[in-house]
């Protein structure tokens, strides 16, 4: 078990290293840099000024040196300075994390708390009208462009309540705090809820065909006990994996949702930083996201092991 964890951690480092190289190189393959963008507004680029600024920002160094510089800094906890705001990148990134984290957490919570029960219901009533209805709903959840959904929610909220949840870092009331986060979380969580529901459903159906379910029935267990006690615990395993993978997708969904709902989290920040070619921000943010994804997957695996005794004891 311990060896397994160490091995996983090692592989995680390898993955993160690969990501750091890829993102670093990709960014530098992108034509144009921060200097072009800073000059953009001026309506021209002065080559001398540009060279100056590039030197100042370290962009004129060989790419390998730049990379080593970055990674070296990272290892010392120094993420560099944002090209745009000239503040330490850490200072820019850190305060945005809790916002996105709350949003993502809520969305996952939403997707799990809606998706899993509905998936079970749909599987248990396989072939019924209810099943069909739930499947159609979940499929539509996967078919609506999320920005569209978000916009609809906003418009509905304005026309129904005359107001809308605009982000506010210091919500005054509880209600405000909830709407600020919950509405966008639901908009983005709808998709994952739909996905979770589908996975739960097929996983349940799969499990319900297993021999040990028949054994449980042969013992005289009630349908409810069979479904929830015996089947669900097994069926939830693949669902956990999917939720883990979904965590990565969620970041993508959040980019769009944070844009629509104008939430200053890291997802939207990433897009903006990308537009500005603000390498220190993009690099570190992508690394942060990658770390989160990798760690979430690691946790999912651990969770899997916690639920599935077969994994805990075998390697």
């Amino acid at each position: 078990m311990f060896a397994y964890i160490v091995r996983r951690l090692f592989l995680m480092l390898v993955t993160l290293f690969g990501i750091s190289v890829i993102i670093f190189v990709l960014l530098r393959v992108v034509p144009g840099n921060i200097v072009d963008i800073l000059f953009d507004a001026a309506g021209f680029v002065d080559p001398a000024d540009k060279a100056n600024l590039e030197r100042e920002l370290g962009l004129s160094q060989p790419i390998v040196i730049q990379y080593l510089h970055w990674i070296g800094g990272l290892l010392h906890g120094d993420l560099g300075y944002s090209y745009v705001s000239e503040k330490p990148a850490l200072e820019e990134i850190l305060p945005r994390i809790p916002i996105t984290a709350r949003l993502a957490g809520l969305a996952l919570l939403f997707s799990a708390s809606i998706g899993i029960p509905l998936g079970v219901i749909s599987a248990v009533h396989q072939g019924s009208k209810l099943d069909y209805a739930l499947r159609v709903v979940s499929l539509s959840g996967l078919s609506l462009p999320s920005f569209w959904l978000g916009l609809l929610v906003l418009m509905a909220s304005v026309s129904l309540f005359g107001t809308m949840p605009i982000f506010n870092p210091n919500p005054k009331t509880w209600l405000e705090a909830i709407t600020i986060y919950a509405v966008p979380a639901m908009a983005v969580g709808f998709r994952s809820a739909a996905l979770t529901m589908r996975i739960t459903r097929s996983s349940m159906l799969e499990i319900l065909r297993q021999d040990y379910i028949r054994t449980a029935r042969a013992k005289g267990a009630s349908e409810a006990s069979v479904n929830y006690h015996h089947a669900l615990k097994n069926a939830v395993l693949p669902v956990i994996t999917v939720i883990g993978i979904e965590a990565a997708f969620l970041i993508g969904g959040l980019i769009v949702t944070e844009t629509v709902f104008n939430i200053p989290g890291i997802a939207r920040f990433l897009v903006e930083a990308l537009r500005w070619r603000d390498y220190p921000i993009v690099q570190n943010l992508v690394m942060f996201i990658a770390v989160v994804v990798v760690v979430v997957n690691f946790i999912v695996d651990m969770l899997y092991a916690a639920i599935d005794p077969r994994i805990r004891f075998g390697d």
């Binding site: 992108v30 499929l139 539509s140 078919s143 609506l144 462009p145």
Partner: protein, 297 residues
């Protein structure tokens, strides 16, 4: 004991569905949702193919005299702010969406199959390297990767297709690898080895064909999501550029300006996207039920 009508029970089970067409008809009836999906997909494909015949105007012709015309007999879906016919644009947009969907799915699936097959079949260091690559691609959220890619490559149809295809690779590679690993242990692969077949030939002739079914299922499922990804990229300003009438951009840009004053600009592309994605999803679902025996209910 309740009386049981054997005939109707059998019909429900599909017993009298014989022959290719009968079987197809039965499947269609058994998977109503899937059939609906298939019809939607077919409509979508036909629309894309015959776009020039179906559309009534040139999708790019600007007409300042008829801008923002509401739906009418003249312009079924109204016109946009340039006076372009929305119906014609949606019809031609099907081409773009289809190109993006099929293009990126095919590309992603092909690369994914190569990676997955090599990784599963060759094992050893090839597997190790490819697995890390898929790990890396998987740890970068799809949209983030696509964003960086389109930023890097510039917004054009082939680039968008590429940008959407790359993130598909790990998903496909994983499935194919798992399948290949399972197949590699199959006696028929060992039998092929025992007659002295080369590894390459075994991989291509025995392993690959048997991964087709899961691949098709996966690819159909991905088709819809690629269309959505393109829409999201468009929303963020990185999708397919003008003048191509991409649904995603039609929707996202109109949504910003005309959602209330000219709702048809928003409703129709929105419906087109959702319907196309919904159709592929429905069909993909049914296909999985049919092709993946473990899922059979």
């Amino acid at each position: 004991m309740a009386t049981i009508n054997f005939d109707s029970e059998l019909r429900r089970a599909g017993a009298n569905a014989t022959g290719g067409w009968g079987r197809l008809a039965f499947l269609a009836q058994r998977h109503v949702l899937g059939t609906v999906g298939l019809i939607i997909m077919l409509l979508f494909v036909l629309t894309a193919i015959f776009a020039d015949l179906i559309s009534r105007y040139d999708p790019l012709t600007v007409d300042s005299a008829h801008r923002l015309a509401p739906p009418s007999m003249l312009h079924w879906f109204g016109t946009d702010s340039f006076g372009r016919d929305v119906w014609s644009r949606i019809i031609h947009g099907a081409r773009i969406s289809l190109a993006v969907g099929i293009g990126s799915t095919t590309l992603g699936a092909t690369l994914g199959v190569i990676v997955g097959l090599a990784s599963g079949y060759l094992s050893g260091w090839v597997d190790l390297v490819f697995q890390r690559v898929t790990d890396i691609l998987q740890s970068l959220p799809l949209l983030v990767l696509a964003l960086v890619m389109t930023a890097a490559l510039g917004p054009s149809l082939p680039n968008v297709i590429l940008a959407i295809a790359i993130p598909l690779i790990p998903t496909v590679a994983r499935v194919i690898r798992a399948n290949t690993l399972a197949l590699r242990e199959q006696p028929f692969v060992e039998a092929a080895k025992s007659i002295g077949m080369s590894e390459m030939r075994i991989a291509l002739r025995h392993v690959l064909p048997n991964t087709i079914a899961p691949l098709i299922v996966l690819a159909t499922a991905q088709l819809g999501s690629t269309i959505l990804t393109e829409a999201s990229l468009s929303f963020l300003g990185l999708g397919i550029p003008e003048p191509y009438p991409s649904w995603g951009r039609m929707l996202s840009e109109s949504a910003a300006e005309y959602v209330r004053t000219a709702p048809w600009l928003v409703i129709f592309p929105g419906i087109a996207i959702s319907l196309a994605v919904f159709g592929t999803n429905l069909f993909g679902d049914a296909l999985r039920d049919i092709l993946d025996p473990r899922q059979r209910g």
